[in-house]
Each structure stands twice: as structure tokens, then as C-alpha cells.
């Protein structure tokens, strides 16, 4: 396995130029896939035999819920990389991605609540998945809060790394505990998304919109990371050159 790309990603300069090349690409591919997936899902996929048309919310609910979890996974991994290998880009990643993950969790929560009304007859039900997303959202808010409260940059970097790693280890425990708690309190209600064997016409647009969401977030995250790199490396010569050559 060739690890050179991994080490290169750790260098702010290399990352910045790499992101210049690929961020737009990821973003536009993402938006394209997302649009195809959503339009397909909204207009062409068949209605669900149980939930009718309200199930079309799935094409925004599931991608954002998946992204919210993936972003937190990324945060945790970056936290480990930051603490163990002290790679410069890891704290930048955490700082840039945490707010995006929070927005993803927020959209998943809102869409879940709105979906809940026609499905369960209530805006909020203490369903295991929704509760997990709520807790995930709170975890994100914790990371963002500590990032914003600590003025010392080195301390803030360490702090969010520690919290991310602790969260990464705790996330499965929290998820398991919430599921166990849920079965204890609410046996045999049907959940929003746990459905056996979705037909292809429903599943394919979901896949597309999920992939699209990944692309969108990747592109947007790269811009945020680039902005943060510029702040941190403003003394470096390559930044000076990059900025002065830039047409803005």
C-alpha cells in the first residue's frame, strides 16, 4: 500500500493545491448526483404502499443522517491522527467539518420530525434512530462550543481532538444503549426507515442522493479547510504567493 498521499495530505501546502483542483469537481458532481437523486425520488419513484408520498422525505432524511454519522466518524479519526501523529491538517479538518456535521444532523432531525407527523401523527416520537440523531447533534454542539470557547489555538485543537476521540469510542455505546432503551419502552412500533427489501426504483435514487451528499459535503469542507489553512499558515511564503496570485 502506498501511503505517500496520506503524508502529503498532512502538508498544508500540498492540501491547499490539491483542494484547489478537486473541491469544485467534488462539489459539482455532488450537486449533480443530489439533484438527479432527489428529482428521481420526488417525481419518478413509486409511492410507498404504507406511507404514501410522505416517504419521499427519505431522499433527504437518510443521506443527511448518514452524513451526520460519517462526519462524526471522520472527526474521531482525525482526532486520533491529531493526538498520535500531530498532523497539522487533522485539527483543521475537525474545525471545518464539525459545523457541517451539525447541519447534517439538524436537517436529519427536522426532516425526521416532519416525516413523523403524517406517519405517527406526532411531530416527535422517542424512536431509537431519531433519539440517536438528537444525541449526535448534541455531541456536535459540544465540539463546536469548546472550539469557540477556547481562545488559545493549540489548546482548542487538543480539546476538540480529545472530545472527538472520546465521542468516537462512545458513539457505538450510545447507539446501542439507545436502541436497547427503545425496545424496552416502545416495543413493536414500526420505525421510519427500517424497511425490508426496498424495490430498486426506490433504492437507486436514495443511493444517488447519498453519494451526492457526500460529494457536496466534501467540496464544501475543502473550502472551509482551505480558509483555515490560510489563517494558520499566513506567514508561509507559499501562502503569500497563492494569495497575491489569486484574482479576487
Amino acid at each position: 500500500m502506498n501511503w505517500i498521499w496520506f503524508h502529503k495530505l498532512g502538508s498544508p501546502k500540498w492540501f491547499f493545491q490539491w483542494a484547489n483542483k478537486w473541491s469544485k469537481f467534488a462539489f459539482f458532481i455532488g450537486v449533480l448526483l443530489l439533484t438527479i437523486g432527489v428529482v428521481w425520488g420526488l417525481g419518478f419513484a413509486p409511492a410507498d404502499y404504507q406511507q404514501g408520498n410522505s416517504f419521499r422525505i427519505i431522499y433527504i432524511h437518510v443521506p443527511t443522517a448518514i452524513l451526520a454519522q460519517s462526519c462524526y466518524l471522520g472527526l474521531g479519526v482525525a482526532g486520533i491522527v491529531s493526538l498520535v501523529w500531530r498532523m497539522k491538517m487533522a485539527p483543521v479538518f475537525i474545525k471545518a467539518v464539525a459545523p457541517l456535521g451539525a447541519v447534517m444532523a439538524l436537517i436529519a432531525l427536522i426532516s425526521g420530525a416532519i416525516w413523523g407527523k403524517p406517519t405517527w401523527g406526532a411531530w416527535w416520537v422517542w424512536d431509537a434512530r431519531l433519539t440517536s440523531v438528537l444525541i449526535l447533534f448534541l455531541l456536535y454542539m459540544g465540539v463546536i462550543a469548546i472550539q469557540n470557547s477556547l481562545d488559545d489555538m493549540q489548546l482548542a485543537d487538543k480539546a476538540v481532538a480529545v472530545i472527538s476521540v472520546v465521542g468516537l469510542i462512545n458513539l457505538p455505546i450510545i447507539k446501542y444503549s439507545v436502541e436497547w432503551w427503545n425496545t424496552l419502552h416502545q416495543p413493536a412500533t414500526f420505525t421510519i426507515t427500517a424497511k425490508p427489501a426496498m424495490p430498486m426504483e426506490m433504492w437507486l435514487p436514495l443511493l444517488l442522493s447519498t453519494l451526492g451528499m457526500y460529494g457536496f459535503i466534501a467540496g464544501v469542507a475543502m473550502w472551509r479547510m482551505q480558509a483555515e489553512v490560510l489563517v494558520r499558515e499566513h506567514r508561509a511564503n507559499w501562502v503569500k504567493k497563492e494569495v497575491l496570485d489569486n484574482g479576487i
Partner: protein, 220 residues
Amino acid sequence: MTYSSFFYSEILAVFRRKQDVVNALVFFLLVITLFPLGVSPSKEFLQPAAGGIIWCAVALAVLMSVEGMFKEDFNDGSLEQLVVSGLYLPILVLLKLLVQWVSVIIPLLVLTPILSQMLFINWEILWVLVLTLLIGSPALFLIGTIGAALTVSLRRGAVLMLLIILPFYLPVIIFSTGAIAAAQVGQPYNGQLAILAAISLITLTLSPIMAAVSIKASVN
């Protein structure tokens, strides 16, 4: 400085600051009292809710007492001295926590018979409550230390610490109250206790190291 002199000084410090221990207990009792007054004093409500009420109060009381555990050391510079002492910082954190845990949990255990009367807990269930306290509370302390170490340099870190630490307390609270609820309906509760023990063990290995990292980052 040696491990034993540090440990001894921590014990001595707890005895000098008895008021802190009393404060945590009074706070705990106050939270418990809020529920009968705020919701309902009836046995029908309190008996099934007792486990949840007690554990929420325990979580808050533990957070209160853990929040300040490095504050004074940070302000007077002795935290800095711990960092340069050449002793292994995670072990120092662990020793400090051990003293803190004993000073909060032992008085709490003494209080539990009184609680059982206030919240209509049977004597058999009381035993389960004591077990969950003994097995589950170390995890609360261990996770809380990380937050305390991270926010020690902030003047008003208490709210922030609550914000980042409370979500991590959920599994402990869920399984503790689960064990008590299971015992109340006569079901086996060993599984929940085993999971609690597992959580405490995981945090025991992880959080002293994380707390040490945080302390080193905070002291500057």
C-alpha cells in the same frame, strides 16, 4: 514529589475542604426533592421513576464535584508542578479521582436508605441501586475528568463542561435505571450490571490518558 505523597496530600485536601463534600450531597438531595414537588408526590409516580430520578441527580452531583477538581490546582500553579514532576500524569489523575470518588460516593451510599423511604424503594431494590452506584459511578467520574481538564483554563467553564460531558453520561444512566427497573418487575438485571462494569472499565483505561493530554494542553 512521589505518588504516595501526592495521594496523601489529596486525602488531606479533601478533609480540609469538607464543605465541598457536604455541598455536593445537599445539591443531590435538592434535585431529588424537586421531583415530588414538581411532578407528583404519589407512590404511583415516584416508585417507578425512582431509579431515573436518583441517577439524574447523581449525574449532576458528580459533574458538580468533578468540575472543580483541577481548578484550584490550576490557579495556584500546582498543576504545573504535577506536569513537570516527572511522575506519570495519568496515574496522578487516577489517584486524584479515587480520592474524589470515595469522598462523594461513600456519603451518597449512606444517604440511600433515607432516599429509599422518600421515593418508596423496597429494600430488595435498594441493594440493586447500591450496586449500580458502585459499578456505574466510576464511569461518570472518569468521563467527567476529561471535561474538567479541558475547561480548567476557562474562567466560566462549568456550563461548557456540562454541555460536552452530559451526552456521554447517557449510556450509564440508561443501563443503571434499566437495571433498577428490571429488578422492580422481578426480571434479571445482571446483564445491565455487566454492561455498566464494561463501560467503567473502558473509561478506566482511556480517560486518565485523555485527561492527562488535556491537562498538558491546558497548562500554559
